[in-house]
Amino acid sequence: MAKTKALKRPVQQNAHRGYRRQAPTDRRRLVFIAAAVAVVAVVGLIIAGGALRDSNKVSHEAPAEGFVLGSPDAPVTIMAWEDFQCPICKAANASVLKQVEQDYVTAGKAKILFRQFPFLGQESIWAAEASQCAADQGKFWDYHDALFNAQGAENSGALSKANLKRIAGDTGLDLTAFNTCFDSGAHQASVQAEKQEGAQLGISGTPTIFVNGTLVKDWRDYASLKSMIDAALASATKS
């Protein structure tokens, strides 16, 4: 009996180091458990993030300020909160908003209302202020298009003060008046106020688009956006 005990001892001593305590099937089992826990954790995080986004309701009331493209009397208002440094805003302007302009704005059925939400850094704020100075000369939309065309990486100098002035010159603005407006910070307060208004409405990113006050969840899908505009048009016609 004593001999048997003595023979077993080395194996037990090694066992505490974990060398012999697991069979190959144990490894497979442990790997499976670890993989399952990892998958559950990742899926949980994705679902938690998605649920939060869905519950992050953006409230909005009737449009008040902003720059209007189209007839101010058009029954449907497409309100777009944008940042001139935002690459998705640039893409939205070149795709769905362009399509809306062709299909509804030129026909007088809808108008696009541009709202400033410069949240991507200093160059966004400068660009927003500069666009207000361009608006003072009645050239907001020309300058708006020129700014999106000049867009580069965030805060990389693409929309520096010097470039904003150069773009103003290229757009045919009166540079003396523009520079006076821009350098004096004439629209600093109004840009900040508009940004704050957006934040209070719950806007956290751009573009955020509404059709007659209703948030467009999937604005990339033009069919979905179109059906919302058509519904708003039908509702406006009835009333």
């Binding site: 004593a2 001999k3 003595a6 023979l7 001892r9 080395p10 001593q13 090694n14 180091r17 974990g18 060398y19 012999r20 305590r21 697991q22 069979a23 190959p24 144990d26 490894r27 442990l30 790997v31 458990i33 670890a34 993989a35 826990v37 990892a38 998958v39 954790a41 990742v42 995080l45 994705i46 938690a48 993030g49 939060l52 986004r53 992050n56 440094q85 935002c86 690459p87 998705i88 893409a91 949240f119 991507l120 850094g121 200093q122 580069g152 990486a153 965030e154 805060n155 990389s156 100098g157 956290s204 990113g205």
Partner: protein, 164 residues
């Protein structure tokens, strides 16, 4: 193989540095330095940059701190399968979520944050290396342990008693 856990801990430190920088920028409300590459501020202020109000960068700090701890724990006994698999599971979840975030950047936001891409590369490398260890490190039952002199002495005693 013995040095792999240390290498993984080092990778974790790099990732921790990135996450800490992004957390500091988030709470300090400072623009993220992007060196003109990508759209870091846009990505990190998007709806996808937080989970239940917690910034993803803060989740990253927690993930990397746990990965470093797991790697150091593994380094104390590099043959321990449980420690290796624990690390591997963490790396899998980290790399899986980083993969999802990279998909969001490319397919939903259409914008890239270089810091996030760097973090995703670190996690993918950690997962690859630990997966390789999982394949290459022999199963515990196949390992013949190196005997310490004390153990060898006891074995010899046992053999003598058995023979006697």
């Amino acid at each position: 193989m013995r040095r792999l856990p240390y290498l993984l801990a080092l990778l974790g430190c790099l990732g921790l540095g990135i996450s800490l920088y992004l957390v500091t920028a988030h709470y300090g409300k400072k623009p993220i330095v992007c060196s003109g590459v990508g759209d870091c501020n846009y990505v990190n202020s998007s709806d996808y940059a937080s989970v239940a109000g917690v910034p993803v960068s803060l989740l990253g700090v927690g993930m990397y701190a746990t990965l470093i701890a797991a790697a150091l724990l593994w380094s104390r006994d590099w043959r321990d399968e449980r420690r290796m698999i624990f690390y591997w599971g963490l790396a899998l979840s980290g790399a899986g979520y980083a993969g999802y975030l990279t998909y969001v950047e490319l397919e939903i936001l259409h914008a890239v944050c270089v810091w996030c891409v760097g973090s995703a590369i670190i996690l993918a490398t950690s997962l690859t290396l630990s997966t390789a260890a999982l394949f290459w490190l022999p199963a515990a039952s196949e390992v013949t342990p190196a005997r310490s002199p004390a153990t060898a002495g006891r074995d010899a005693d046992a053999r003598r008693r058995s023979a006697g």
